[in-house]
């Protein structure tokens, strides 16, 4: 063994920004996360040129997966053109040479904050979700050591209790986003703050989902064809947001998750949250060929 075999040539930057040891750690942890679906795996969470809490967890996973042939889509609440999404996408392509896209069907890696695209993702796509709070038990157990023990014991009684209390107090389950869901019948995870509308898209999906919380330094995964069941009582069916009858005022599509825009003088109008779906619908109306792929929801009903 010589010094030359232990060192490598000088380079101004590492490919994909993260250094090799950071990537090896993430790779080890991602494999363990896939092996135990829904179980939170701790990792070191390196510094990236972005504030913690702005998607650094998702960014680190994407930077580990990315190569020059990747096609990256980044969305923030469904929109490709949000400041956060655009900056992350530009950063990824600058440090890796990967292509950028707005089209869910073209992407190989979709990094998302708080939404799952409306078009069905394929077998070879990876969905990377940014997670602010990975611990579903935080609301009922602030001590993370005890929460870890509760996960080890599959002791989720307190989560059921919060859902029960919401029904007793309000008459319905008030949990709007980050709905606690049982993965592979064993670990309860928070699916990141995606709306209830999006949780069924993770159940028995074709794509791989990796959820990563940079500030909290944990990642977990939902492999393809894995059961993801929202916690519900047998006599209270799981309800998604009541958006089936709403129509987007710009693109005219209906039956998808909408953003509500309150109007002066009361009332609201709606715009489709998955902005690229709206763009495709507008292009189609303008005479371009219909580029919208199969969607998880058809006529407002989940049907995949």
């Amino acid at each position: 063994m010589s010094l030359a075999t232990l060192t490598k040539d000088w380079a101004a930057t590492s490919y994909g920004f993260l250094d090799a040891s950071a990537k090896r750690e993430l790779r080890r942890k991602m494999l363990k996360a896939i092996a135990v679906p829904g179980c939170q795996m701790p990792y070191a969470s390196r510094e990236v040129p972005m504030a913690r809490g702005w998607g650094t967890g998702g960014l680190q996973v994407t930077l580990t997966l990315v190569n020059p042939n990747s096609v990256v889509k980044v969305i923030d609440q469904g929109a490709d053109d949000g400041v956060n999404a655009a900056s992350i996408r530009r950063f990824i392509s600058r440090v890796s040479g990967a292509s950028e896209t707005w089209d869910t069907l073209e992407a190989t890696i979709v990094q998302s904050r708080h939404r799952v695209p409306e078009e069905i993702m394929r077998e070879n796509q990876v969905l990377v979700l940014q997670v602010p709070n990975p611990e579903p038990l935080r609301g009922v157990e602030p001590n993370i050591s005890i929460a870890r023990q509760m996960h080890a014991d599959a002791d989720y009684g307190k989560l059921w209790l919060t859902l029960y209390e919401q029904i007793v107090r309000k008459g319905r389950i008030m949990q709007g986003a980050a709905y606690p869901s049982m993965v592979n019948g064993r670990h309860v995870m928070t699916p990141s703050p995606i709306p209830r509308w999006d949780v069924p898209k993770l159940n028995m999906s074709k794509h791989l989902t990796i959820l990563s919380a940079g500030r909290e330094k944990r990642l977990y995964a939902v492999p393809p064809y894995t059961r993801v069941e929202p916690l519900v009582f047998s006599d209270r069916p799981y309800l998604v947001e009541d958006h089936a009858a709403l129509t987007c005022r710009r693109s005219g599509v209906s039956g998808f998750f909408m953003n509500e825009l309150p109007q002066d003088g009361g009332g609201s109008v709606f715009e489709v949250s998955d902005s690229n779906l709206g763009i495709k619908a507008i292009d189609c109306a303008d005479g371009a060929p219909d580029a919208i792929g199969d969607t998880w929801y058809r006529n407002g009903e989940f049907s995949a």
């Binding site: 063994m1 930057t13 994909g16 942890k29 190569n67 080890a152 064993r186 791989l208």
Partner: protein, 176 residues
């Protein structure tokens, strides 16, 4: 304007290897291709100074030492285990982690021909069921069943040349 340095050879190989391993583990039973035959690309993708690794060949032991990882003298203390022949009695002491820390469970990388015994796999990552052939010594799967008390357990990569099949602890294996 910043220009992107292309990935060096190590990074390209690690990226390809990880992609093969990730999809192999995400879809148990699917055969994925490593960029090159053998364990070396897997070792350089996963093992570094933070790991304790075991290998049963001198060449791989030298690679482990060069990677900075601690060389384990027994399988029990290793978090990454590279074996060219499976001795069930030795594998039986592999680290399976705990319910508190399932990520402590070891990764087993073994040279196993993708032929012989028919197995039926079910579980996460598999749409219904899938059948594979793996030439493992009799008793291996019974031992795995005994050790892997989900979420405790160990995760396997069975390498045949440049092909790899992943079987995570979450997979149920039925010997046909």
């Amino acid at each position: 304007m910043l220009t992107v340095a292309p990935p060096d050879r190590l990074e390209s190989r690690s990226n390809l290897t990880f992609e093969a391993l990730m999809w192999a583990l995400s879809r148990p039973g699917d055969v994925r291709s490593l960029p090159e035959a053998g364990f070396e690309s897997i070792l350089e993708t996963l093992v570094d100074i933070e790991c304790t690794a075991f290998a049963d060949t001198p060449a791989l032991r030298a690679r482990i030492v060069a990677s900075g990882a601690t060389l384990a003298d027994r399988i029990a203390t290793a978090d990454h285990v590279f074996v060219s022949t499976i001795e069930s009695a030795e594998i039986a002491e592999i680290n399976c982690g705990s319910a508190l820390y399932p990520d402590d469970g070891a990764t087993l990388v073994a040279a196993v021909p993708h032929e012989g015994q028919r197995l039926r796999l079910t579980g996460p990552g598999i749409n219904g069921l899938i059948e594979v052939r793996l030439a493992l010594p009799p008793g291996f799967w019974a031992m795995r069943e005994l050790l892997c008390s989900y979420p405790e357990g160990f995760d396997c990569f069975f390498v045949d040349g440049a092909s790899v099949i992943g079987i995570p602890r979450s997979t149920k294996v039925e010997v046909l």
